[in-house]
Amino acid sequence: MVTAEHVSERRLSIPNNPITGVLLAIPAYFAGLWLGTLFGLNDDANTGIILGYTFATVAFLIGVGFLNYPLERLFGWRVSPISDPEENRGIGRFFRLSLDHKVIGMQYLVTILIMLLFGGIGAMLIRSSLLSPDSSITPPGQYIMLIGLHSVMMIFITSAVIVGPFGNYLVPLMIGARRMAFPRLEALSFWLVPPAAVILAAAAFWGGFPTGWTGYPPLSEQAGQGMDSYIVGFALIGLALIVSGINMLATIITLRAPGMTWTRLPIFVWGIFTTSILGMLAAPVLAVALVQLAMDRTVQTSFFLSANGGSNYLWQNLFWFFGHPEVYIFILPAFGIIMEIVPHFARKPLWGYRTGVVGLFGVALLSWFVWQHHLFVSGIAPVLRPFYMLSTELISIPTGIIFLVTLGTLWRARVWFTVPMLFCMGFLFNFLIGGISGVYLSDVPTDVTLHGSYFSMAHFHYTIMGGEIFALMAACYYWLPKMTGKMLSATIGRVHFWWMFIAFNSTFFPLFIAGILNMPRRVSSYDPALQGLNTWVTISAYFLFGSMILFAGNVIYSLFFSARPALANPWHARSLEWQLPTPVPAYNFERVPMIVGGPYDYGVPNARPVADLGGLVGVTGGG
């Protein structure tokens, strides 16, 4: 039997870090490739590639240090020192397995921003291709590869861009906890992302995949080896969503500080809570679809082959049962950010807090009943159309409630127009357009006409980029001072906002017109009469990309050159995370905090301070 003494006696000196992970992953990939080729059927090496990616990912995780705990339990081996927040100081902690939620949050943020850069470069290449209406810049085969890589990379990013960095960093601070419920799972959810991104990028070496992010068979069954990257990469992101969801939910349910009742929970935490439910329950269904696709491509099963008893509609149902809740996985945390930030700068209580929570749950609940609207044009039984049209239109009601809560908070407020607040305003404007265009698309006749056009493409970019990414920017300007200890330049931030806001609308609004004029998406050629419009959009897109470069420049300048230290509470906010010192101590709270007030009681007469922290730092009162 393994005892505590045995554990401390046996220690192997294998350094656990990403370099070890990569060094293990390379031979593991070739071992998988060899094994797959040995046992694989006549499947164009798909078995080998999928096994190779899987082995490489497992080996990478082992190299990073994820096998240590099971080994310790089984044999008493301790492979590397304990990763403990108090033992892990210095810049090196960001480059290895850490169980500190703050380190993981920062690891997520940097990784996702790097991925965003690559996704953005993909978008620029797509737009550059469309400068010519006749596929002369990029041949159709390469164009569809660009579309696939850009779309899946962006889906990976937007699945995690808020929950990953800000959920992990802030949720424990906001609920008064010292850690996440399952720190190893939390770390795993992050360390699955880099292999997923690399595997997806590897698709380019195999000629990409022609299906876009939806992966519809039979095209995905016939596609080349790049499709295997799609399968494994997406599966890893799905796994990350599941473990992240379980961890977030368990943390919020079990680790709230005394006095942090459900009705005192910050609205951002509610956004993470509802998102986590969706991620935890929807991603397993995606996993099933991906396993089936992998089996069809490797061991020659026939889940999606009609001739052999399968059906490509099976994929469409399973994929969109995940895919539509996935859309709300993007936007619910963004709603949480907007409703969180607005009261602080409106200096008013969040109007209709409970209604806002109901709105979040309403969106989350209804998102399970709308997936078949994605099948309107692919042959859904006509008798089902009215139900899914109605359920899709219904979802605008809880979304409207969330808007109402935000606007009610702004009503007659003396708004402090900081940079985060500007991005909140930009979110409201953009998402309103994205949301309303979505109501049009939920209508069957409109959807049948516009589904394959740029109208649909403009709609989802308005919701995802105009919504989620603007909320991400608001979150960065609002919370990075707490996370990094440095204030971002407000002057550059204001230029960034206006530049991004104008460039975004200049890029995507004309695409509604292009869609109405029947410009098809995913096709590299179009009617020459639309060339002027497309040139305008492409130039606007370059400006939009430039605004993101400006943001990156602002971060680098503010962190490393101007280095203006952030106060503990630069926004004079009431919520709990701002009552902690900057930088946040290793275990967040020296004593378990006692929550005695709500986070949004601005201007409330005799409002109690938000918490008793045992004199850690000053606590903001009601004023």
């Binding site: 039997m1 393994v2 005892t3 505590a4 003494e5 240590n68 705990y69 099971p70 310790e72 339990r73 089984l74 304990i82 990763s83 403990d84 169980l99 010292r178 850690r179 419920a181 399952f182 720190p183 190893r184 599941i242 969801g245 379980i246 939910l249 368990a250 079990t254 680790l255 935890m280 329950l281 929807a282 991603a283 397993p284 269904v285 996993a287 099933v288 679809a289 396993v291 089936q292 089996m295 061991v299 020659q300 099963t301 026939s302 889940f303 009609s306 001739a307 052999n308 008893g309 399968g310 059906s311 509609y313 099976l314 399973l318 049962f321 275990y587 709270f589 020296e590 004593r591 378990v592």
Partner: protein, 198 residues
Amino acid sequence: MAVRTRGRDVSPGVEALLDARVVSVGVWLFLAADLFFFAGWWFAFFYLRALNNNQAWMIQGLVRPNRGFGTVVLILAVLTALAYFAASRTPGRGSVFRLLAPVSLVLGIAAVLYQGYGMWHLGFGLTDGAYPSVFSGLTGSWLVQLAGAVAWLATVVLQAGARGDTLARPHSATSFGWILLFLAAVGIINYFLLYFVA
């Protein structure tokens, strides 16, 4: 790898209780996610069976998998779960736990090996229609999860010594019993679907 749960002002007893609640909630959340995973497979089963595209749900002359074989695997899996569940609820975690948990482990290993052997000797080709696809996918997914659970069960058994983690954190070991029970329940549903309903 120790992870400190709470601060210095929290007693070990309170920390243990909190730990138990965290693990318990986590296990139930995991089971909810896993239920959706298997629900996806069950949907595929009913969907393809109802469509019967090209009359190829179960092609003529298909040799069905051996029902007796499936029965043995199911009995082993159920006994694994029941033995562990009973062991983990024994007051005091004494000799009964140390007796039943290894028995559960042996039964679990037998179930995994037996099912694994069965997967290599299906009696039909995977290209022989939709039923073989669903059978291999659903059974394979269940087998992979059962194998993972049995591997974890091995760590629980190895940690059941006087100073092992299993006794130090008894609630975690108890919560793990629900995972085995869940897999056994899924095994029962799969058994009826694949051997009778199909």
